[in-house]
């Protein structure tokens, strides 16, 4: 689908990292972009793109977040949403048996409960789009990760949710899940993890964002940005995976 001035895109967690890069990419294509984040509008003023509309909605409170997003979309006059990328995420790194209950609950609320409840309230906006797309950002750790047990669980939950919902909404709304591998954003530091020398092996966030845009365009699911993507990147077979002007 061509992106034009009537294309409405929602990206959650777009005040940093992959989400922020995605917002820039879609704005450059001419779309209307609404972004969300947990921080106060003042605090992110300098960070976020000027043309994006910002909603402060902390996903530690899933239902409130879902309601804030649809309320704001209605207020700015959106009757439809062509593409929603539910990207916001956090994690806490620790020995799996010393995870503190508050951290577990935060991780599950932000990464799993909130995207599910947001998807539920977004249905009516996605239904009104010509071919609405709903995209979840998972993680290659959805198959299990000892140092991020509840994070991995939350991403596995998203994977299972997307798999079943994609079938349920077949021919109605395209549901996708994309699993990035380790990416050099601020996420690891925020999670209390020092990747050290490993960090050199991480994906370039810009590459990941462009690969996500290309995957959304193709519509296949699930997609992992893992070892194969890594080899392709090293060989530079695909410098620029974005097909500009499409979603």
């Amino acid at each position: 689908m061509k992106v034009d001035q009537a294309t409405n895109i929602l990206i959650t967690g777009a005040t940093d990292g992959i989400g922020l890069l995605l917002a820039h990419l879609y704005l450059a294509q001419g779309a209307n972009v609404v972004i969300t984040g947990r921080r106060d509008a003042k605090a992110v003023e300098q960070v976020i793109p000027k043309d994006a509309i910002y909603i402060q909605a902390n996903q530690e409170h899933p239902q409130i977040t879902a309601d804030l997003i649809t309320k704001a979309m209605t207020e700015i006059g959106w009757d439809h949403c062509d593409l929603a990328i539910l990207n916001a995420g956090n994690g806490h790194v620790c020995n799996p048996l010393q995870e503190n209950p508050e951290a577990i609950r935060d991780t599950l609320n932000v990464n799993l409960v909130a995207p599910i409840l947001i998807a539920r309230t977004l249905v009516r906006f996605l239904d009104k789009a010509h071919h609405g797309k709903l995209v979840f950002i998972g993680s290659t750790s959805h198959k299990g990760a000892a140092k991020f047990a509840s994070y991995a669980a939350s991403k596995a939950g998203l994977h299972g949710f997307a798999r079943s919902l994609r079938e349920e909404w077949h021919h109605r709304i395209t549901v996708l899940i994309i699993h990035p591998g380790p990416t050099a954003t601020g996420m690891h530091a925020k999670a209390g993890f020092d990747a050290g020398a490993m960090k050199r092996l991480f994906f370039d966030p810009d590459y990941v964002a462009r690969t996500i845009v290309a995957s959304i365009h193709k519509g296949a699911s699930p997609v992992s940005i893992g070892v194969f993507a890594r080899i392709k990147q090293a060989l530079s077979l695909r410098k620029n995976p974005v097909s500009a002007g499409d979603i």
């Binding site: 899933p62 239902q63 879902a66 020995n95 799996p96 048996l97 010393q98 995870e99 209950p101 577990i104 609950r105 599950l108 799993l112 409960v113 599910i116 409840l117 998807a119 539920r120 309230t121 249905v123 959805h142 198959k143 299990g144 990760a145 000892a146 991020f148 047990a149 509840s150 991995a152 669980a153 939350s154 991403k155 596995a156 939950g157 998203l158 994977h159 299972g160 949710f161 798999r163 079943s164 919902l165 994609r166 079938e167 349920e168 909404w169 077949h170």
Partner: protein, 254 residues
């Protein structure tokens, strides 16, 4: 053995409870159903303690853990309590999904992590997580349930190694439909109840897997074959589930 079972009044939890009491073990049975717990206590008396808790409420779970921490250590913990929500995804209330994700995912994670990390397990003990055969097939018409059960399966496999170092085994079970009121309420129209596995049979298979210190249990031949099929043809199986389940559900149920 000292044993903890959540969701002990009906279905698999009940069957496990009765079998283990017959074998003379001490059990703490947890459920939301007060009458059911009292009846169980009246019938099976002295080896059994019952605690009524709503496991969809985070604070109640935290208080439960504090209470359990004061007692003896457990040899076997079965985190079995769970609920479903079926129908078109968007037609069930958000609160139903919040409750489902709490009791099916958050609560077992919080309990396991507190009990293993907090030294409430006996060395050589086992923690059982109840996932679902939907882990192999997907479950259109119950996408949030599918999410909750995939999440718990991945949590279990993530902590397994760290637990093994403490000589605690983690067993995840992936049962298909069980012959319970819960399954009947959420089943598609025209489904054959006779093909669901009897809770007693499942309890037997689970206890075998516990004593053999297995990691995963797909109970019964059908579940084993379905798991293999799900690995080979995941998208096809989810499409099949759409036909046999989702298209035959007639109303939202939670």
């Amino acid at each position: 053995m000292n044993i903890l079972i959540t969701g002990a009044v009906a279905g698999l939890g009940r069957a496990l409870c009765e079998k283990l009491l017959d074998e003379g073990h001490n059990i703490i049975a947890i459920d939301i159903n007060k009458d059911g717990l009292e009846e169980l206590k009246k019938q099976r008396g002295d080896l059994l303690d019952v605690i009524q808790v709503d496991l969809t409420i985070s604070d109640a779970v935290s208080r439960l853990i504090e209470t359990l921490a004061k007692g003896t250590r457990f040899d076997l913990v079965v985190l079995n309590a769970g609920i479903n929500a079926t129908g078109n995804f968007e037609e069930n209330p958000g609160e139903a999904y919040r409750r489902l994700l709490t009791i099916n995912t958050e609560t077992p994670i919080i309990m396991a992590s507190a009990m293993i990390g907090g030294n409430m397990m006996e060395t050589g003990g086992t923690v059982v997580f109840v996932s679902s055969l939907s882990h192999a097939t997907g479950y259109p018409g119950a996408s949030v349930y599918a999410a909750s059960k995939d999440a718990i399966a991945t949590y279990a496999s993530s902590i397994r190694r760290a637990c093994a170092r403490m000589n605690i085994n983690i067993l995840t079970i992936f049962p298909g439909p069980i012959k319970t009121d819960h399954a009947a309420r959420h089943a598609p129209k025209g489904a054959d109840a006779e093909r669901r596995m009897a809770p007693n049979r499942l309890a037997f298979l689970v206890l075998n897997a516990v004593s053999q210190r297995k990691h995963d249990l797909y109970p019964g031949v059908i579940a084993k074959l379905t798991n293999v099929a799900g690995r080979l043809l995941p998208a096809f199986l989810t499409r099949l589930m759409r036909r046999i389940v989702f298209e035959k559900l007639d109303k939202p149920t939670y």
